[in-house]
């Protein structure tokens, strides 16, 4: 084990896989000479050269489309999106091409392409640059959607993504890049898709989340424990497609109360899907309706005070936990 930042864990995963497999390459805007706007790719051009670390023009659709073509021929491209907000320029290439060619070819091709980059709100980037996309992508069959909450998961899940046979949307939280944690050193350490984990044990309320909201939920859970003696069990989903809710069902069977936390808009969001599945599967165990904590249903405003109002915070998780315990006020 070594202590690593989420950022370094991502870089390590890519470099270990590039060392291991010459078919792995990376492309993106300003990832080579500039070494990446978030410095995820620092040092990579120097080590692997321009054939494997490709600085592209500003052409998101072109990047993804060419990567899909490379993948169909057996390469394993990683596409870095400067931020995931720009990937929607490539939505057709991702959703209509990457996600579909295996199916409509009757399984004749693999599409091992990883599309990764940061997302999320919090630094006043306003409406076009503050979005999160897990609900959007997870709606579509044919792609995997990954959203790690820790450095170890970032590394292990990215390695699984690169070694896989399917297109993966790998959603990094920009706010977590500096976060440190213990990461296994073994170059064969991977984290499988579709295996959720219990991030904190507790008996009173189940909180289900992923990515940065998982970290926020853990902080809320500690506060609830210290201030109110309420013990939350916190489930980290890690991947939204495939989605493993078994640990959540088991937990709800124990706690009988559940809160789902996501960063972005409530309508048609990941939390809605999770809450519905819990209600369908363990309805008889619930002592209260499943509560959702989400961002407000507005485009992200620029002004700092409005941005704070638009995004979810610990106190919203705490309030939701108390609500499902009928302990408010």
């Amino acid at each position: 084990m070594s202590e690593k930042s989420y950022r370094d864990a991502i870089r390590d995963a890519m470099m270990e896989e590039m060392d291991r497999d010459p078919n792995v390459l990376i492309m993106g805007e300003d990832i080579g000479v500039y070494e990446g706007t978030f410095r995820i790719t620092a040092g990579m051009l120097k080590k692997y050269g321009g054939k494997r670390v490709i600085d592209t023009p500003i052409a998101e659709a072109g990047m993804v489309g060419t990567a899909v073509g490379m993948a169909m021929l057996g390469l394993r491209p990683i596409v870095e999106m400067m931020t995931m907000n720009f990937a929607i320029v490539a939505a057709d290439q991702i959703l209509n091409h990457a996600a579909k060619v295996r199916y409509f070819s009757g399984g004749q091709v693999d599409v091992p392409v990883v599309i990764r980059g940061p997302q999320g709100a919090g630094v006043q980037l306003s409406a076009q640059h503050s979005q999160t996309f897990e609900s959007f992508y997870a709606h579509f069959p044919g792609i995997k959607v990954v959203a790690p909450a820790t450095p170890a998961d970032a590394k292990g899940l990215l390695k699984t993504s690169i070694r896989g046979r399917d297109p993966v949307i790998f959603l990094e939280s920009a706010a977590l890049y500096g976060m440190k944690g213990e990461v296994p050193d073994d170059p064969n350490f991977t984290v499988p898709f579709g295996v959720s984990r219990v991030a904190r044990e507790g008996s009173d309320v189940t909180i289900v989340s992923y990515s940065r909201m998982l970290q926020m939920s853990l902080i809320a859970a500690e506060k609830l424990s210290q201030d109110e003696g309420i013990e939350c069990e916190v489930i980290d989903l890690r991947t939204l497609r495939p989605l493993d809710l078994e640990p959540a069902y088991a937990s709800v069977t124990k706690t009988h109360r559940c809160v789902v936390v996501q960063e972005q808009w409530k309508p048609f969001g990941a939390a809605a899907e999770i809450a519905a599945s819990i209600t369908e599967t363990v309805f008889d165990e619930l002592d209260a309706p499943v509560a959702r904590v989400t961002g407000e249903d507005v485009p992200m405003p620029y002004a700092r005070n409005l941005e704070l109002l638009a995004t979810p915070h610990e106190q919203h998780v705490i309030a939701a936990v108390k609500k499902v315990m009928y302990a408010n006020g």
């Binding site: 805007e29 300003d30 000479v33 500039y34 070494e35 706007t37 600085d55 023009p57 500003i58 052409a59 998101e60 659709a61 072109g62 907000n85 720009f86 320029v89 630094v123 006043q124 980037l125 306003s126 409406a127 076009q128 640059h129 407000e296 249903d297 507005v298 485009p299 405003p301 620029y302 002004a303 700092r304 005070n305 409005l306 109002l309 638009a310």
Partner: protein, 347 residues
């Protein structure tokens, strides 16, 4: 960027060169520069958040074109948009207030640096997704003609934006509609040599950028974007022509940005300090000032009084922004859709 042969340069007729308007243009360019310097300072102080992309070095490209427009003309650009707003006549204090995220800002504090908007002055916005606004501008130009006006649309974009699909789609539709005189759009390529950290040579298969526009049946010309006389000269001619023809036109302005791509671009590993220094010798403000000095007798004292005026305008803008109130909480829920907005809980 070396000046190429086919670039238009200004030939000087002293009478025209000394028209009072040129002093006004100098004032505008100096105001823009001082304004941008203030935004960089206020960003470092934490008064401005998010991304901040300044225009220093490129002033002649905004001022040379925009001063040739008339009321009713409209403009679209990307996120490097402060200069365009100021040149169109937005109040500096309301632009600064927007950057401070205040309710008195041109976009009520909801857009920030990348999304200035001031429709009253013809400014249809700053956009943050590279190239996304080109199609909007082409559609707007169609609308102006559809409404049987002689107004034109101006659309600014960077060299890097020419690599994205919407550029090609917008160009082709503008060229196509232009055949029927239905697309009076003036495309301005702000070719500052770089898309963030990637030089034109490294991002474009063809480095003659205007050539790519000609492929869509749109007339083009290159101009020295550091020389506001040259830019304005081309603009005067082209704008007049477009009002008649309703056809698109494209000007490639060869320019240079003096600051980093954005406030976070500190190391600038993609270019040398020497390169930046060399370009600072072709400062568009210096070029205009020297010319007005040599030909029209503009004195150092004249320039000093312009500088003092600009400094006090900018200081007043900062003070106004500082003292303005942030948007009220209710503002979060306004302007999302015209009707049937989000359902709010706890109401």
């Amino acid at each position: 960027m070396a000046k190429t042969k086919e670039q238009a340069s200004s030939t000087i007729d002293p009478a025209a060169a000394c028209a009072p308007e040129w002093t006004e243009i100098l004032r505008q360019m100096i105001l823009i520069r001082r304004f941008e310097e203030a935004t960089e300072r206020e960003f470092r102080k934490g008064k401005i958040g998010g991304y901040l992309h300044v225009y220093s070095g490129q002033e002649a490209v905004a001022s040379g074109i925009i001063t040739a427009l008339t009321k009713g003309d409209i403009l679209f650009t990307g996120y490097r948009d402060h200069a365009h707003a100021l040149a169109l006549g937005s109040e500096p204090r309301r632009v600064m207030a927007e950057l401070f995220g205040k309710s008195t800002g041109v976009s009520k504090g909801k857009g920030g640096s990348m999304h200035l908007f001031d429709v009253e002055h013809g400014f249809y916005g700053g956009y943050g997704i590279v190239g996304g606004h080109l199609t909007l501008a082409a559609g707007a130009a169609y609308a102006l003609r559809y409404q049987q006006t002689e107004r034109i649309a101006v659309c600014y974009f960077g060299d890097g934006a020419m690599n994205i699909g919407s550029f090609h789609e917008a160009m082709n539709m503008a060229g196509l509609w232009g055949k029927d005189g239905m697309c009076p759009i003036l495309f301005i390529i702000e070719n500052n040599g770089y898309a963030m950290g990637t030089s034109v040579e490294r991002h474009s298969a063809l480095t003659d950028l205007a050539q790519r526009v000609r492929a869509y049946n749109i007339q083009t010309e290159k101009v020295d974007g550091q020389d506001v006389f040259a830019v304005r000269g081309v603009a005067d001619r082209v704008v007049r022509q477009m009002r008649e023809t309703g056809k698109p036109y494209c000007i490639e302005a060869i320019t240079y940005r003096f600051s980093g791509h954005g406030a976070a671009d500190i190391l600038q590993p993609y270019r040398s300090k020497d390169e930046v220094e060399e370009h600072r010798h072709r400062d568009p403000i210096g070029i205009l000032r020297n010319r007005l000095g040599e030909i029209c007798g503009l004195t150092d004292a004249d320039v000093k009084s312009i500088e003092d005026w600009a400094a006090s305008e900018v200081a007043a803008a900062v003070q106004f922004a500082e003292e303005s109130a942030p948007p009220e909480a209710e503002e979060l829920w306004r302007d999302i859709v015209a009707e049937h907005g989000p359902v709010r809980e706890n109401e």
